[in-house]
Symmetry: C2
Subunit: 339 residues, 2 copies
């Protein structure tokens, strides 16, 4: 273990909408002492994800907001470099809520899982084999209930979750339609992620017409990560018995107060549709089941992924805002140089 | 069979919102000839229901809109007075889509069911033992999935559907909260329909606070017949895993274009709630199952009902508008004098 300090990214101010670089500061802290039943993780990859906006928001959410002056909550993957815990040995690869920092002291309660896929890159445990892939897996299969021949529409189709949703739907025998922003991502959807149709919402003036053309028999499953005008358009094109999975609301800058949109009840009623909220943590007990299947699909080449990796903790503060601008192509990660 | 003509209520003009008296006209037509495999029904009760607004609307719905000049589509209950059909005998009591008219010629395709509960009034086949009761039964049990101890909130709680929903929820061991308009109906909810709490939305300035007070542990099931500001309030008070049943949208005068409201996705997501559209006709094959149970509850005094009966076909044209004004206390019916 190198005798350096611990670089940490702290929340400095509470953002009103999307967190910006100025809402964080990087500090150099003392390396923590490892006590009995604790261990130290040297992070190699830090995750950046849309949910982080919620984690720093003052509006009630799944968990208490990150406090001002606290290390920014984040998933990370690394290696155990010192341990006084019976279940964790030096050299173990782990993924968990270790925060945006170089070293994390853990008692095991913040560990999501040990990463046992030693034949695959560690970074995948934060993306296609991490919360993103597991979200896609359970969100689509449990809430979307895709059937062979169904038309499955995915918003943020080229994103870390969306690209996995589209590919899993294809593996399940569905026709897949991806909605994404920009021609580069639309091409990625078609060429890398196998969508039958990709719609560039930035290039469409009439989204409802574009969805109608792409889905002549209506939308059986809509996996939604955006809300906003994309959803408004898709909801006009539901097939009878459609399933809508609400996984994220990336297009809405602030829910306080909730923005207005066209009321959805008539679509839901007339089409006997079902709109379900999905949170991956409800499926924590089935995590390994999902990772096992996802890893096999990755090995077989049926499930492709992309990563957008920046080197150095200096990239953390601005990373959430970059994510919401949609600049990244693939799962957004920060790589920390291994000492 | 009396040798009179056939009084019929025809649709005269296509209403933009809620159908008004002037949108209909009453004509005296010739009595139809009964051909082979046909029979004639003498209607005794004509039904008035919220869905009628949809039936005359030009906006796409479950079925083709009633054409101008056509007899107004309606459920009715009556007696077979002449038959050349092997399955229907003179004296049979039937309920079906016989329209707003005195006599209906039928080939059986518009019959919902033969009314076999001879110990109970025929009018119940249009209310608590008709589409209203069956809607409450399947909507609540199949889409709402109430569990003992759940808090069930019902909008239009004193209405023909809502009052049955509240009572069935109570039979299932739930705590029931009814939302209704006016102190008279609120009292009806508490005294006749056994709601634990009744909220008069007309007397509340802060509906969300009223729902929060009535539901300290949140709303597990919301059976919605209204949409609009009542739903907006209830949706802020969902319990985790809440089920929302969209059965009707009575508070929305027109869906063309859809009105704006606070976006629901965040509530659905954070509470992992489920919003399902319900249409009773999807459960047509299980109609007798529901009526059998409902009739037993009525006989046992566990399921109470109210009827609001007007005498004479002249009451038909203005009846839908009256229903939407909420003037009626109980299932709204028109009774036709038996010849």
């Amino acid at each position: 273990m190198a005798a350096t300090g611990n670089l940490q990214v702290l929340l400095r101010s509470r953002p009103a909408g999307i967190p910006q670089a100025g809402d964080f500061e990087i500090v150099d802290s003392a390396l923590p002492q490892v006590c009995e039943r604790q261990f130290l993780v040297r992070n190699e990859y830090l995750s950046v994800e849309p949910a982080m906006r919620g984690w720093v928001s003052a509006v009630a959410n799944y968990s208490a907001p990150v406090a001002i002056g606290e290390v920014m909550r984040a998933f990370a993957a690394g290696t155990v470099v010192a341990s006084r815990h019976p279940d964790y040995a030096e050299g173990d690869r782990v993924m968990g809520k270790f925060g945006w920092q170089l070293y994390a002291l853990s008692d095991g309660s913040d560990v999501t899982r040990k990463v046992r896929e030693t034949d695959l890159p560690l970074s995948l445990s934060l993306g296609v084999l991490g919360l993103n892939g597991v979200t896609a897996y359970f969100g689509l299969l449990e809430k979307g209930e895709p059937r062979p021949g169904d038309t499955v529409v995915v918003s943020t189709a080229a994103g870390a979750v969306g690209s996995a949703v589209g590919q899993i739907a294809r593996i399940m025998g569905c026709r897949t339609v991806g909605i994404t922003g920009g021609e580069t991502k639309a091409r990625l959807c078609r060429d890398d992620f196998g969508y039958d149709v990709a719609i560039d919402y930035k290039g469409e003036t009439d989204m409802a017409a574009a969805v109608a053309t792409a889905c002549p028999n209506g939308v059986d499953v809509y996996f939604d990560n955006t809300s906003g005008r994309i959803s408004d358009a898709v909801l006009t094109q539901l097939a009878p018995g459609a399933r809508i999975v609400i996984c994220g609301t990336a297009s809405i800058a602030s829910w306080d107060p909730p923005p207005l949109g066209p009321r959805v009840e008539r679509h839901i009623l007339v089409k006997r549709a079902r709109m379900s909220g999905f949170l991956v943590f409800d499926y924590a007990h089935r995590y390994e089941e999902a990772v096992t299947r996802l890893a096999n699909w990755v090995r077989a080449g049926a499930l492709k992924y992309r990563e957008d990796i920046a080197d150095g903790i200096d990239h953390c503060p601005g990373a959430i805002a970059e994510l919401y601008r949609g600049d990244n192509l693939g799962k957004k990660l920060i790589r920390l140089a291994v000492a």
